[in-house]
Symmetry: C2
Subunit: 380 residues, 2 copies
């Protein structure tokens, strides 16, 4: 008998798809060929009308639900919402989750071998944009025989991809669910990304991105980048509730090396753990994709005009204490959609967890997502 | 004829005071002796009743007003508020501004020579707290013949010193002006400080704080620390207004080394400029003093009880878009004072500039400060 819960998709196996067709990128360069790693949950129906694409955020990947082995301790990153009977119900939907191009979890990225040189791409890997990702995801959809997604769903950077899908391929998306996201970064958002990048780039072990050739990784830089990022994922309130000013030991040490407060210990751990498992070049690439995202830019900043061709209906979700992409940023998107006379539902969820809320099983949030997904028609 | 404006204190000369008496510190260590550098503006009256102490914030110093030379381009850091006829009117008040112990602008600090070893203190300099600073400032007051300050004034970390004065020396402060400050740091505040410290400490040029012996400075770490700090000094709105998503050049470069957006260029400049002029050990020390400040801790967090012995009247000022020390943090202090039945005036200033507002000549802010200072009685 399986040890997995009844509402889990259970054991899942990543699949690989090689694309021989070159991909023209926004930066002007071409990627000769590439692999994408992805997982699927549920069954594609006969009319191929029940496919849902899950787009991941900065440090995410293709393992969104279920378990890779009987021993795996934690399920995929969005297991709370994907599974039989869950908000994204795998009894109804065929769910596809991939690792984005440029990632470090199996899809072609800076750690992959460049066939032209026989060495890892490293710093020579091209910069990617949200548009590029959507184009590569469209190639994957073609291979899977999915002409139109029932829904494209994502939070944060994933929400930007979901939005871009409706602009790049208006006829291939019926519903867009954009969670805790923004139609473009603010100067403050870019500033935090820039600190993260400078932390990585100025790490002596970065070697201009070719650290692999030197047999090192820029751990310090990645750690700092993650620490900064992590602060922006949590709300002031949630950090206060989680840690307050609790001391690590029962008295102050009054030195620079000891960890005095629990929050310091937590942040260092998060940073160190992340630096051991994530690739620095991929991190740079992801933050750049965030910075560059600004679909309205070609229309002089007119978001409504940019959204004119959109065919999809939208669910937009924000969280009250999210200060990375605050509710005001979601409302920008909602207002743009309304000005373009599109159908949009908007839910602002009262949640103390900050930006991280989009990954958590907050009842009102899951209920809103569930209700929206349930009303999506899926002809057998 | 002087080139200085009529409302400037004009040419000023820093003064040095050596203290031979050892200072017992909160960390349990003793500082055998030390120097403090300070400036004064205006004249101490016969009754010595018109002295105002200005306490500086994290990266501040003793040069608060006027000019060090005819050629100096910029006046002291709070020249907007200190001078003849200004909010802190040097026609009425004798103003004292010092560089805190542990600083890097002339007072004894990590860069100073340890008389016991003949080498610079570096990492061996003791950790200081806000209480220690106040004790050292009290020694300076003794030397200057100032028994009671008409007012102790400070913003941010300076506001914490002003508050601590009223607790440590209740009978030596008549008025406390605490601006853009908090009775203690939040977990998020500590987290940002910890990122800054880790950036410095993990810089290979830090050498456990003894970088001077190696003839280097941890520039990268200091730069990152300042970049993070700088983001928290500005509001999202003010960054947006200042930079928006403006590009540095007229097109995107799509690489990791170019500066794409103006805000990146601004932050890098701020970080680099700071790293060339500020000492890393002092930066660590200042952030630790911020973290440790929590005067109510000895009373189990009861701020009102802590404020019971206070004799001073308070003016508390906050700024609407300050998210480093938000108005809610100032109201904590105000509520504590009210609960302890102290006299307090509170002004919340509508200002888009974030935490930085406390350094800027915002008319309503300057008017409030001016009005409060003007009602302070000064017997000749």
């Amino acid at each position: 008998m399986s040890r997995f819960p009844a509402d889990s998709v259970g054991l899942v196996t990543p699949q690989y798809q090689t694309f021989a067709e070159p991909l023209r990128l926004a930066c002007g360069r071409m990627l000769a060929g590439y692999d994408l790693v992805y997982e699927t949950y549920g069954e594609l129906n006969a009319r191929r009308s029940n496919a849902v694409l899950i787009c991941h955020a900065l440090s995410g990947h293709h393992h969104a639900a279920g378990f890779h082995s009987e021993d795996e301790r934690k399920p995929g990153w969005w297991d709370a919402c994907i599974g039989p009977g869950k908000a994204i119900d795998t009894n109804r939907f065929f769910v596809v989750a991939l690792n984005n191009l440029g990632g470090c979890h199996g899809s072609t990225g800076p750690c992959s071998t460049n066939p032209e040189t026989g060495k890892s791409y490293g710093a020579s890997f091209p910069i990617l944009t949200v548009e590029d990702w959507v184009n590569s995801q469209a190639c994957l959809a073609d291979v899977l025989g999915i002409d139109t997604w029932a829904a494209v769903v994502g939070g944060s950077l994933g929400g930007m991809q979901a939005l871009q899908w409706t602009i790049s391929y208006p006829h291939r998306v019926r519903h867009c669910i954009a969670i805790a996201t923004a139609p473009k970064l603010s100067a403050q958002n870019i500033a935090f990304n820039e600190v993260a990048r400078q932390a990585i780039i100025t790490d002596p072990d970065f070697h201009n991105g070719d650290y692999a050739a030197f047999g090192v990784i820029p751990k310090r830089g990645l750690m700092l980048a993650r620490m900064v990022g992590h602060i922006t994922y949590l709300s002031d309130d949630s950090m206060g509730e989680k840690f307050g000013r609790e001391l690590r030991t029962d008295r102050l040490n009054y030195d620079f090396t000891s960890v005095e407060f629990q929050v310091e210990s937590y942040l260092r751990y998060q940073g160190q753990e992340f630096s051991a498992r994530f690739d620095a070049n991929t991190y740079l690439l992801m933050t750049k994709a965030l910075d560059y995202f600004d679909p309205a830019e070609v229309n002089g900043g007119n978001l409504a005009q940019t959204l004119e061709p959109v065919q999809a209906r939208f669910l937009v979700v924000s969280f009250t204490t999210d200060w990375r992409f605050s509710p005001a940023r979601s409302r920008e998107l909602v207002n743009g959609l309304l000005a373009a006379r599109k159908e949009v539902s908007y839910v602002e969820i009262e949640a103390p967890q900050g930006h991280d809320a989009f990954l958590l099983p907050i009842p009102r949030y899951v209920a809103a997502l569930s209700r929206y997904m349930n009303q999506i028609e899926v002809d057998r």
